[in-house]
């Protein structure tokens, strides 16, 4: 085969005047068979199968298994391109060995395209893109810290060590994007409220102030306590020079059931969020800033002990490549509770109350080695106000296109059993995953 190719080069060399010296084309061994196999357009089906396992580092007295992750998963992706639009489908079918359940998650089933491809309103319609259907949505500037991104997240997957892709959960939504000289606009309507996959006791126990201990009820919020009205999210953004600015608004509900009815049933209380962000090159890295005001609609005065108070949230972050292939970043995040005195005065469980200010530092180190086939990540959350934290370590190794081996730890630490991270101390786990692409 190599000889055939050499002859091919030679003949071209003779035929084409612009070809460089034959001497330079020496000793090249372009294996045409190997290249030939993707002469055809890539197949529209793709995906992977994955085996994942994880276990607690120490047992949890209220959960009777040490398994934290036991997935046998198959993902299928399919897409179809039209002239100016596309339909994309991504679904995960998996057996969850922790819950002993088989689940289907449609991560994406959406049509995306320009408004002009369905409605001809001249130049005007070319300024709009639409994406309708089941989809994953993300915006904001934080790294594992979300202020203005109120799209659903899957914290159970995040804690269990599933791939980072699963931190974002899909929602059935319609997104309209407008692109104008003055700014770009994204408007998202989610007709049916899509909560986070919050920690509910299925895999990991959490602290209940009423019980004064960790509980693992594995609860679901039943329909009368589940919001029936839609969620609305808006982003207006513009780049000026090298700096990207954005303002955000959200009208909907707290994404986890942090409120309680008078009968003690958890529910999702109303929430409005307004915020802004900027990200810009700074020194030899990137600086990002973001703020958000969380207006807890059902507890405007902060006196209701069963509903979270309003908050302002602030984030400053910086990321830089430290040395070749090693990137470091740090973030400072502050949550400041509004009407803290009112909460104190009315609290039912004052000994377990959060502080007025929750201050969180995060650090990330990411190292790529072995020609980027090995990626090492260390991410640490540490709260100076709660004296607790969460260390996430992971390694991904993929020396060929067909498979990837990953492993890591999720470690929760701290002093007080009720604090934000340390309540999950018994959730600390080690995990390993093997993914094969077909």
């Amino acid at each position: 085969m190599k000889n055939v190719f050499s002859a091919f080069v030679l003949s071209i060399g003779v035929a084409s005047a612009s070809l460089l010296d034959v001497a330079l084309a020496q000793e090249t061994e372009w294996d045409m068979e190997e290249w030939g196999e993707e002469e055809k357009a890539p197949k529209s089906f793709s995906g992977f199968v994955e085996l994942a396992a994880g276990a607690r580092l120490s047992s949890d007295p209220v959960i009777n298994t040490d398994k934290t992750l036991a997935d046998l998963r198959a993902q299928l992706q399919w897409d179809k391109d039209f002239d100016a639009s596309r339909v994309k489908f991504t679904a995960d079918l998996y057996y969850d060995g922790v819950l002993d359940q088989t689940k289907l998650q449609i991560r994406e089933l959406a049509w995306q395209g320009s408004l002009s491809s369905i409605l001809d309103l001249g130049e005007w319609s070319k300024k709009f893109d639409i994406k309708v259907g089941q989809q994953v949505l993300t915006w904001g500037t934080g790294d594992y810290v979300f202020l203005n991104d109120l799209f659903p997240k899957d914290f159970q997957s995040f804690f269990a060590g599933r791939d980072d892709d699963y931190l974002k959960a899909p929602s059935l939504a319609a997104k309209v994007s407008g692109f104008f000289d003055w700014a770009n606009v994204d408007a998202v309507i989610t007709p049916k409220f899509s909560p986070d996959n919050y920690i509910n006791g299925d895999y990991f126990s959490f602290f209940s102030p009423f019980a004064g201990a960790n509980v693992a009820p594995g609860f679901e919020v039943s329909s009368p306590n589940k919001p029936s009205s839609p969620e609305y999210a808006l982003r207006v953004y513009k780049t000026i020079g090298s700096t990207e600015y954005a303002v955000y608004a959200y009208d909907g509900f707290h994404k986890s059931p942090a409120s309680f009815t008078e009968f003690g049933e958890p529910y999702f209380s109303g929430l409005r969020v307004y915020g802004a962000s900027a990200i810009t090159p700074f020194a030899s890295g990137l600086l990002n800033m973001e703020m958000a005001y969380y207006d807890s609609k059902d507890d405007a005065q902060g006196r209701d002990p069963l509903v979270p108070n309003s908050q302002s949230r602030w984030l400053v972050g910086y990321e830089q490549e430290l040395v070749k292939n090693l990137t470091g970043s740090a973030q400072l995040y502050v949550e400041r509770m509004s009407n803290f005195d009112a909460l104190k005065a009315s609290s039912l469980t004052p000994e377990f109350d959060p502080n007025k200010n929750r201050v969180l530092f995060t650090q990330r180190l990411m190292y790529r080695a072995l020609q980027q086939t090995l990626t090492l990540n260390a991410f640490n959350f540490y709260s100076t106000s709660d004296k607790d934290g969460y260390l996430k370590l992971s390694a991904d190794y993929s020396p060929v296109d067909q498979w990837q081996l990953s492993g890591g730890f999720n470690v929760f630490y701290g002093k007080e059993r009720f604090s934000f991270f340390n309540q999950f101390e018994d959730a600390s786990n080690a995990f390993v995953r093997f993914k094969y692409y077909y």
């Binding site: 070809l19 460089l20 084309a25 090249t28 993707e38 890539p42 395209g113 893109d129 931190l167 980027q372």
Partner: protein
Amino acid sequence: MLKRIKTINKIASFMAASLALLAAVPLQAASIDVSSIVKNAEKAAYYSGKDGRSDARMMIVDAQGRKQMRQFTILRRDVADNGDQQMMVFFERPADVKDTVFRVEKHVDLAVEDDRWLYLPALDLVKRISSGDKRTSFVGSHFFYEDVSGRAISEDNFVLQEDTEAAYVLKATPKAPETVEFAYYVVTIDKKTNLPILIDFFKSNNDNYRRVEAVKIEEIQGFPTVVRSKVSDLESGAYTLMEFRNINFDLGLADDVFTERSLRNPPREWLN
């Protein structure tokens, strides 16, 4: 053979010089303007037409012979010749990077870092990337970011080492040696096409550890274009082959193709 060519070339250049003297042409005209050679080479290698598109595929072969593939489409638009550029790379293969998009606003002013973004479709995340060392692997291949987007010629001092019939051979020494892994490189520039066709990188002990070579050149819309290239890690024996196909220049790609909008909703008319 090579020696003979060199001899002939020497004679030829001697004759040319003699003729020049006879014609009483000012000496500068006969001397070779290295900076214009370099500038022309940069233009030929990275600035063909005002814009362009190409399908690309790479085969990455590690020291143990294990192979990885990459397949992507590149769109490029020049803000100015030998100046700032906009670039988008749409990945198709392998499966785990399908629909990932890489966007670069390249600034030739060394004081201004390139702006870079990555779109990760599984998270619907547009991630701004801090400007990093440009001499790190481009998507796991042996090509560096800098090999793909072009190393600014203002970063090196060039001297002519050899002037053959077919090519100029220049030695380039970095102005800021602490920022790069090489001590110098030697680049062979084909006189006919102005294209750099061989670049050998050396360490300070004159050890030639890395090679970038043009393997096949075709003329596309009048622009001589490298359609096959190879980069070799001469120490480990690992290498990457890159092939460009379906190349088109001067498509009239508009400024608004190179925006965040195209990350989420790629401009299909230019991709398929």
